[in-house]
Structures are given as C-alpha cells and as structure tokens.
Amino acid sequence: MRLHPTDDQRALRDSLRRLLARRFGAVALRAAVAGPGLDRALWRELGAAGFFALRLPEADGGVGLGLPEAVLAFEEAGRALLPGPLAATCLAAGTVSGAATGETVVTAVDGGGLVEWLDASDTVLGDASGAVPLRSVDPLTPLHRVPAPASVGPPDPVAVLLTAAEQLGTAARVCELAVQHARARKQFGQPIGAFQAVKHLCADMLVRTETARAAVYAAAVTAGPADIAAARLLADEAAGRGSRDCLQVHGGMGFTWESEVHLHLKRAWVRSHRAGGVTESEELLAADLVAGAG
C-alpha cells in the first residue's frame, strides 16, 4: 500500500510537465490571455503525447493506463492553466473519432447548462441548441449558456474526478507561487514570509493541498463515488481558498492583469460549477453516511 505515485507515474507526470512548460509557459499563457483561441497545434501535440487517450485500451489505440495516470495528467493541466475542454475530450476518446489523437476537440453541455469552448470545438455532446455566449469571468474559458438545459442524470464521476485533479493542480501551483513571493518580497527589512501572518497563510495552503492530494489520488485508485465526491470537495476548497490566499500574500502585485494568480482563482471558480457543483457532492456524501443503515 503506497498512495504515492510510482516511478512510472512520476515519469509520466514529469514529461507532461516539461511539455507544458515548453509549449504553454508564462509567455504562451500571457499570449493566450491577450488573444483567446484554442491552440490546435498544442492540442494535437497533447494527443500525440497520449494525454486524451491515457485510459483507452491499447487495443483501441490508447495508452492503456488508468485513472491514476489521468489524474496526474489533469493535475499538470490544472497547474499550467491549460485551456480547453480537456475533460470532455478525454472522456470522448474512444467514442468520438479523432478525440484520442487531439484532432477533434470535444466539448459537452454541463448539467448546469454551461458549455465551455463551444465555438472552438468540433463536436458538442448534449443539446446545445439556443446556446448564448456569456462574458466569461475567466479570460481563458469562453462560456455559453443553454437557456433550458435538458435535465440530465448525475454527473459522470470520472468528469468530477478529473476536474478535482485540475483543482489540485491549481492548489499546488498557487501554494508554490505564494511561497516564492513570500521568500523574495521584502518589506520592513525582511522577506514577508518571515512574518507569521504570511507564513501561516502559506502553511494552511499546503495543508489543504496535501489533504486534497491524498483524497484525489485515493479516489483515482478506488473510483468510488463517495471517494470521488470527497476528492472534489477537498480539491475545490484547496483551489478556491488557496488562490485567494495567494492573492493576499501577493498584495497589490497579484492584482495586476499580468499576474498569474487571478487566472487561477477565476479558473477555480469555473471548475467549481462543473458537474453538479459542490452541493451535489455534499448531498451524496451525506446520503453515504446513512446508506445501509435503514
């Protein structure tokens, strides 16, 4: 029993982190904010690296790995603020032609009626008729809203878990950013991270991140609905509160449009509304407590 990623899993994570650093680093991120649009070349490169086909059996042209590997990949995507309907395309690999290779970009109508990246996608799953564009709070996630979304069943647990993994990536990244800033920025003659008020904010960010990490990784192993719901709640909290605390640590510096921090907060907000939102997960976990108890 070892919840830590294996050597192979870490190698996969590291190679994806390198790919994203090379193809979607700080400069590319800023360019994407300035001129939104999906980078299809990057999308195909991700496809070639197996990003969308991780869980597809090798017989079907996939990588033949499992949820743990997908979770690590999505954690990296979250860390890098990689834009696009990643989860929808990943889930469509194997059913929608070209999704696995990154040729086809697939989006989906969410239960709440939102559709991400509708204009940039080749295929949309669900009924998006009458969809109207919103002015999205997240400059890297164009949104449409379907006026009267068809009542759908409970969200796909895998979609919930992959979203949680992205939130975990944000949580880990904003903790890193806060610590970097707290070490470098000096006020009152010392790095601000030497002040307990800042140091303890950072510590709490790490605690939330590592607790969420344990929950997300375990849910990737068990794939149980309650474990996934728990992972979602913990990761949402770690990403949302973490981004805010990171902003607080950055002070005025984090409020500039050029800063990466607010992009994490806004993306965390977008993700927290996916797949039923947190209330649905809370209710599932409440019901789980009395399940089988009559």
């Binding site: 029993m1 070892r2 919840l3 830590h4 990623p5 294996t6 899993q9 870490r10 994570r13 743990p68 690590l72 610590v179 707290a182 070490r183 003659g189 010392q190 790095p191 991270g193 030497a194 002040f195 307990q196 800042v198 140091k199 303890h200 950072c202 510590a203 709490d204 790490l206 605690v207 590592e210 607790t211 969420a212 990490r213 344990a214 929950a215 990784y217 375990a218 990737a220 192993v221 068990t222 309650a226 474990d227 719901a229 728990a230 992972a231 709640l233 913990l234 209330t279 997960s281 809370e282 209710e283 599932l284 976990l285 409440a286 019901a287 789980d288 407590l289 009395v290 108890a293």
Partner: protein, 378 residues
Amino acid sequence: MDLTYTPQEEDFRARLREWLAEVLPTLPPKPSPDDWPARRAYDLGWQRALHDAGYAGVHWDASPTTRLIFWEETERAGAPYVGANFVGLLHAGPTIATEGTPAQRERWLPPILRGEEVWCQGFSEPEAGSDLASLRTRARRDGDHYVVSGSKLWTSHAEVADWCELLVRTDSAAPRHRGITWLAMPMDAPGVTVRPLRTLAGSAEFAEMFLDEVRVPVADRVGAENDGWRVTMVTLSFERGTAFAGEVVACRRVLGELAREARAGGRWDDPALRRRLGRLNAEFRALWRLVQWNAGETETAGGGVPGVAGSVFKLRYSHARQELYDTAAAVLGPDCLDLDRPWVLDRLSSLSYTIAAGTSQIQRTIVGERVLGLPKGR
C-alpha cells in the same frame, strides 16, 4: 498509487481480527475513570494480552502499514486504548530502544512490552510549554547521582507510573537546546510529589509533579549529558504518521452515529446540517487517506512534499475533530448542554486538540519553515 495490501499484511489483519474477536469478550469490565489503580491494572492487562499473542512489539518492529492495520482493527473491534501504556510504548520505549545502552534496553524494554511497568512523561513545565527548550528543572551532579529539583506539568498517568522520562537542565550556561539531559526517574524516589490536575472537562487525566532534591543514578541517564534535546527529538515524531489511524476510524464511526441521530431526531431535513455532515464525511475520508499516505511516506519520498506527514496531518485533524463535535452539538440541539449525552464530553476534550503536543500556531510555523522553507523571523 496503490491501496492494496500485501498477502502478508492481509494475513496479519485476518489473524488480528480473529484474535480480537476471541479475546475481547473475555476482558473484564472497564474500570471507572476515577479508579486509577484499576485503570492501571486494566491497561497493563491488555498490554500483557497483546504481548502473549505476539502483538506487543508492533509499534517498534513492524512496518508502518502493519501498524496502521493494527490501529485500524483494534479500533474497529472496540479494543481498549493504549491508555497507561502510551508513554512507554510510543515514546520512552522507542527512545530507549534507539539511544539506550544494551543494559538499559534490557532493564526497561521488556517490562514495557509485557505490560508490567507504566511510564509517564516529565517534559512540560509551567514556564515551558510551547517553548519546551526553556525548561528549568535543574539537575546537579553529586557523585554517581543527579540531584533534581523543579516542577513538571501535564504529566499524564503520573499517579500510577513506575518511571518517568524526565528532561532536566544540566548546564544552565549552555545555549538553551544544549544543556538538557534525558533521565529515567523512578516515581517512588523520595522527593517526588504528584498532584492531580483537573481539566476543564472535569477529569483528572493529568498531574503536576514537584521534584525536591530527587536523586537519580547517573546510570539511568539515556544518551550523553547535555544531549537530551537530540535524544528526545529522535523519537518525538515517532508514530505521528500512523498512531492516529485508530482515532480517524473512531471519528468516522461517530460521524455515522451523528447522521443516524439526525435522521431519528428530524434534523436531517435541514439541508445545511446535512451538507455539513456530508463535508465532514469528505474530511475524514481524506484524513484516512492522509494516514495511508503517511504510512507509505517512510519509503523514498514520492509526489507531494516530503516530510509533510506529522504537522500537516495534525493541523487538519485537530480542526476536523473540533468541527465534528461542534456538528454533534448542532445535531443534539439544546441537549448538547447535557454532559450525560454522548459527544458532549468529547466536545470539551476536543478543545485541547489545537493545543496539546504543539499548538496549531507552532505547527504552522514548523510547516512554513521546515517544509516550505520560509525564513525565520528576526
């Protein structure tokens, strides 16, 4: 990422479970909380039973995963807590095992494992709480003895202990962390006075201990003179990773009981309360995973921040446990003011979780400086 247990571990679990099912019904009734001698006898008896069945050394010899299984299964089965054996099994024992001489190990370890001797901890002092290194209890050399004077606080099981692991200052001129020495002090030595300390929960789990010219043989010093701080730190975080496994299992059981009580009492219809219980379910599931994570952490560090185990877990768990009992109060409504109702006394006890064994403030500083590498303040 792997949550499966090895066949050996599964076998350990199965045999333990079987043994617990056999032995627990044969235990004598639990003694009253106020009957100290009976509690000592009960706790030692349970340790003796563990010893005879081959489980005594699980904390010292077994892998973290095996220890986790041990805590998980004993809690699930409702076995007695470690109780009076706590300091011997989980602190003084491992310290002696690591730092003691062969003669010291032979003298002190077997009686701990066999459930024959009780140890208590003489670390904290009225003026040395969070800042343990500022302790003032003095020991001066007099031939082949130390002569110890001072006072200690928050010494649990002092009334029924045979030995005390004692931190004393042997060099007051040295830097704070240097002049400290670790001694094993017999509790029946002349000059030792123990006074029970009643807590806000109304119980007397703890004691104050006054030491007036107590003579301790130099031979009962573990480690070198003035090296006691290092000796202590070697094992202070011992078991942090997995010792809470049983408590997390217990909290999850309480949570299920709370949900059922809420359903029975009609409060389940309040979505705010229901979701609060759902959140706690997420919280304790995650804490359980963190325990499992920590069990795997002793091997080479993988993803996540290495060395993160103890303080991260304690910070989150302390808060979660307080929230659990606050939620219990919400489930109980006005009945939460009745000490005879379940969880009410536990709520009071849980208030100490953010203070005992390092306040949350101290833990955050540890995480900030030792894990995240943030600088110390001027």
